[in-house]
Subunit: 192 residues, 2 copies
DNA sequence: CGATTCTTTGAAAACAGTCAATCTGTGTGG
DNA sequence: CCACACAGATTGACTGTTTTCAAAGAATCG
């Protein structure tokens, strides 16, 4: 399982063999079954999680019991509740698996240690965070500026891989509309 | 004008006199008049901007000419288009002053230099970025989960200082609703 | 096959957007 | 100091979109 992560670290973060060994030493391999939680509301997020295989989602549950999906994550993405991770506060979110998954977990103290001992790794993670900030800002922009149809179009062109493997009602949840509305928007679109 | 920034750096980032001098050496003081642009759509964002006094907004303009406000910023906040700044790409946004402002600009190369030579500064900026990530993620959550009234309530409790100094139609724009809708939501709220 | 989960559809109600008009407060120039 | 212009806020009437609830059709999986 670690090979995929190793390849990723080599290609994306440009780590050498020794550095990769340092990462390996603190990596925990884990399998997460479909529907299983990786993080539950109220828990503190202690890990960084890299996805070797599978698909997960992070979401909140409103007072009315409705789920609101904050993000999806697939192979070669990271997922964790950064707010809880950074502040040690109980998470408002859940993370669970939409498919059987293989992930690699790195504990917070170990991860901090990697960041300080491997400058290349620190730079890489910093640039990842910067890009996820850009992505999330673009999402805010699209939430306040675009119509439902535009947001849907945006989603399938930006994340065709995700679109193909998660149920539509979850995409609706991600976009902030009801499943019925998304269904209707799609059928109108098909008839053009 | 620099004194306010100095105080901020001392208190928040714990910089000593020598470090503050290094920051001062690359700081450019600037006054921005109400309605004046700090950044215009199409330009590349070259600076970090710290606000000593005043209030600014960052927004996009849609094809239909409608403005969508991404964020406000007041005293002791930073504002810049991070996406353009990081990638050197032309900005999709405008930043302009809602009041007469005093700001401090630090050029990108100078700023990078400060980050590498002053580890405390780097840590401080990293934690700022982490918190702004949390903030923006909470905004996504509120956009997809809450009603207009809840979002409005949220805004005035979280940012009472901003609420008191920017026109309502800009808050409407920030929340992603028309000014008329926000006006009606408010009056319903008052009548409870 | 039966059971779940997912998607679609219909009809009514709630909500939000648009356009136009009015009301309010602020500040500037005469 | 007043009149006027101007930006901001509100209201009404109308239209369009989205939600909600209920039901029924696909698709998938054991």
């Amino acid at each position: 399982m670690f090979e995929a992560f190793e390849k990723y670290l080599k290609e994306k973060a440009d780590l050498d063999a020794e550095e990769i060994n340092a990462v390996r030493a603190v990596s925990m391999e884990k399998k997460v079954r479909k529907r299983q939680y990786l993080l539950q509301n109220g828990d503190v997020c202690h890990n960084n999680c890299f996805i070797v295989k599978g698909c997960l989602r992070m979401y909140t549950v409103g007072d009315d019991g409705v789920e609101h999906i904050l993000r999806f994550a697939v192979e070669n993405w990271w997922i964790s509740d950064r707010e809880s991770y950074n502040n040690g506060s109980p998470s408002k979110c859940n993370i669970d698996a939409l498919e059987d998954c293989e992930v690699i977990l790195i504990d917070k103290p170990d991860f901090l240690n990697l960041l300080t001992t491997i400058p290349k790794f620190k730079n890489f993670i910093d640039s990842l965070l910067a890009r996820s900030y850009d992505a999330i800002q673009n999402r805010v922009m699209s939430a306040i500026s675009y119509t439902t149809e535009e947001r849907y179009q945006n989603f399938i062109t930006r994340f065709p891989d995700i679109f193909n493997r998660v149920p539509l009602h979850m995409i609706a949840s991600y976009l902030g509309v009801s499943r019925e509305t998304l269904s209707r928007v799609r059928s109108q679109y098909v008839n053009k």
